[in-house]
């Protein structure tokens, strides 16, 4: 097992190990490039984050036979009010990174700091308190909403969990406000998720995420399940809300065009590592890592555009 784990390092594929325990104020050496401006006052700092999922064999006597290195030493910071994009292909660890930042998963090692506070090992009421600040929008608007609850109770559930607005009329008023804010009709309070289209459901997910007034919003593929004409509606909504509420946004997507449109800085992930982290403009006009170049060249339409420009 240890042989397998170490293969990458003895083949020289891994850079020098980042010293643990040191506060990472900048990205690890292999990903840093001149074009990146690290945020002066970060809201979130992720330092050398590692998440391995052990693979086991045997039913009664379980032995670990290896590990899936979903996230394998990732460091970055997210500035207040900025939008950080994380792009990569299936299985590159981008969603696991999001779940680690949200503390939906406990990292194998490394740390996540939110507003200067180490939240990596928070438990119980302290974790619950910090969750008010971090919220998430999920990819699939069909499976992320409970089909047996009304929209009102879905959007109002964060209040119930955190014991806020316990007065019924007050809570109802708050929920209506939220629905209005994301562009849904507040009169639809008593409807069920199946009565809404995909785009509207994603709006419900956004309303729920905003209920507690978070400072950080993590959107994991928020538009990939939506029709093209609806994607723009949801992206615009996110941008407007971000501006109004001063949100910090982490947008995870496999769609390079969406990330280019939305983000200030972009991290490209591959096999659990960030291979390139740069300012938006620099990454798209002067990609430095071969994998980033490969990704950009693979976008359909990119080749045709180049042909028409050169021809």
């Amino acid at each position: 097992m240890s042989r397998r784990m170490d293969r990458r390092s003895w083949q020289g594929l891994e850079g020098p190990p980042t010293p643990r325990g040191v506060l990472c104020t900048q990205a690890t050496e292999d990903t840093a490039r001149g074009d990146e401006t690290p945020p002066a006052e970060p809201l979130v700092e992720v330092c050398d984050l590692v998440k391995h999922f052990p693979t086991t064999r045997g039913i009664v006597f379980k032995r670990e036979i290896g590990a899936v290195k979903a996230v394998d030493g990732v460091s970055f910071a997210v500035g207040r009010g900025e939008t950080l994009g994380i792009v990569g292909e299936t299985g590159c660890g981008k969603s696991t990174t999001a779940r680690l930042m949200m503390r939906l998963l406990v990292p194998t090692s490394g740390s996540v700091r939110f507003d200067g506070q180490d939240i990596t090992h928070l438990k119980g009421s302290k974790l619950k308190a910090i969750r008010r600040e971090l919220q998430m929008i999920f990819q699939d608007p069909f499976s992320s909403l409970n089909p047996r609850k009304t929209v009102g109770s879905i959007v109002g559930e964060p209040f119930a969990i955190h014991g806020l607005h316990t007065d019924r009329t007050e809570r109802r008023g708050k929920v209506r406000e939220l629905l209005d804010m994301v562009g849904l009709n507040p009169e639809h309070y008593n409807r069920y998720p199946h009565e809404f289209s995909g785009g509207q459901r994603q709006r419900i997910g956004v309303a729920r995420a905003l209920a507690l007034g978070p400072r950080l919003l993590i959107a994991d593929e928020p538009v990939s399940a939506l029709d093209v004409s609806i994607q723009a509606q949801v992206l615009n909504l996110l941008r407007e809300l971000q501006r109004e509420m001063g949100l910090t946004l982490v947008l995870i997507s496999h769609d390079l065009s969406v990330v280019r449109h939305m983000c200030d800085r972009v991290a490209v992930m591959r096999e659990g590592k960030i291979v390139e982290l740069a300012d938006n403009e620099a990454l798209y006009s002067r990609p430095s890592h071969p994998y980033t170049k490969e990704l950009l060249a693979a976008v359909p339409g990119a080749r045709r555009n180049r042909r028409t420009i050169s021809g």
């Binding site: 292909e89 093209v228 723009a232 407007e240 390079l256 280019r260 449109h261 359909p300 339409g301």
Partner: protein
């Protein structure tokens, strides 16, 4: 389109599904031609009828109780009125299909090779050993490494891209004249998608196939197709050569599609221009021009008059179903650009 008889001619195709809620007019009178060696891209959102339009070419909507009218003429034979037995000889032989989701289109309990052997032997009188040899050849052709060994793998042992390649190998088993690809790369990562599209392109030029590619991704058709048909609410609202359609689109829906997508090279705008509202119901579509409730340029009379697909004066191959005048459209497109 090229000279002479096209390989496939679809005339006024209508496909309706009777349901409890009413009759779903999935395809509502579409016509198009596909020439030999040509690629047609059919673009539309979910619920625009593009998949049903593709499936009905092979009569695959018959089992679902669809009512199909119009004509689908393939090399002089009408596929709509053709009997099931006769159609089965064409299906998978002269016309083959690549489906969107390769995991559900491949049988999980049979080896990949066995499924391709079955496709070969369904239409060719060859021995099992010969068919197996051909299968290994095909898997090699679509770029599966070590096909002699992988032929005995089960679908779950293949990656997503490899499964899609296996699907393409199966579709190519009998060297079809026409390949219908329904969202062939939607489930795949961009780098794999690029490989599959390059593969289709290469096979097309080597084998001289015609391709009908159905997708929601304008980038994919821009790369693959010579001609594009844009579908909305069961109808073709605009059709033209790829260059013409992307350079000067005429229909407000096509404008909306092009503008609502963020690009990799254009200027970065603060906000995208979305198409308001959502795609209409196919049971009870809007009156008049089906797009008028979402159209920024709709006039009151557009709710009454149903536009026909008409050729442009300047370019007869470019046809549009829009009630705005040609001059007005040109001005609006320029203003908004």
């Amino acid at each position: 389109m090229s000279m002479g008889e096209p390989l496939l001619r679809v005339e006024d195709l209508r496909v309706e599904f009777p349901t409890e809620d009413g009759v779903v007019k999935a395809v509502d009178g579409i016509s198009y031609d596909v020439g030999r060696g040509q690629t047609l891209g059919i673009v539309g959102e979910s619920g625009s009828g593009k998949t049903v339009a593709a499936l009905s070419i092979l009569g695959l909507t018959r089992a679902q109780g669809a009512r199909t009218t119009g004509r689908i003429v393939f090399e002089g034979r009408d596929l709509v009125s053709m009997g099931e037995a006769e159609l089965r000889k064409i299906r998978g032989n002269e016309i083959a299909m690549v489906f969107q989701d390769p995991l559900s289109a491949l049988h999980p309990l049979y080896r990949v090779g066995a499924q391709i052997v079955e496709a070969v032997r369904a239409h060719q009188d060859v021995s099992k050993a010969q068919a197996r040899k051909r299968t290994i050849e095909l898997l090699g052709l679509v770029g599966i490494p070590d096909p002699g060994r992988r032929v005995d793998d089960y679908p779950h042992e293949f990656s997503g891209g490899m499964r899609q390649r296996a699907m393409i190998a199966m579709a190519l088993a009998n060297e079809p004249k026409l390949l219908i690809a329904d969202e062939p790369t939607t489930a795949l990562d961009v780098t794999v998608q690029a490989q599959i599209l390059a593969l289709l392109e290469q096979l097309k030029s080597e084998l001289g196939m015609s391709i009908v590619i159905v997708t929601h991704d304008l980038g994919v058709v821009a790369e693959m197709a010579e001609e594009i048909a844009v579908m909305y609410a069961g109808r073709i609202v605009e059709t033209a050569t790829t260059e013409a359609l992307l350079d000067h689109p005429e229909h407000p829906y096509t404008w909306g599609l092009l503008r609502s997508i963020p690009t990799l090279d254009g200027p970065r705008k603060e906000l995208l221009t979305p198409i308001p509202g959502s795609p209409p119901s196919l049971i009870d579509p809007p009156s008049g021009c089906h797009f008028h409730p979402r159209c920024a340029y709709a006039q009151p009379e557009h709710a009454r008059i149903d536009p026909e697909l008409r050729p442009l004066a300047a370019d007869p191959a470019h046809r549009v179903a829009c009630l705005l005048g040609e001059a007005a459209r040109r001005r609006l497109w320029k203003e908004s650009a």
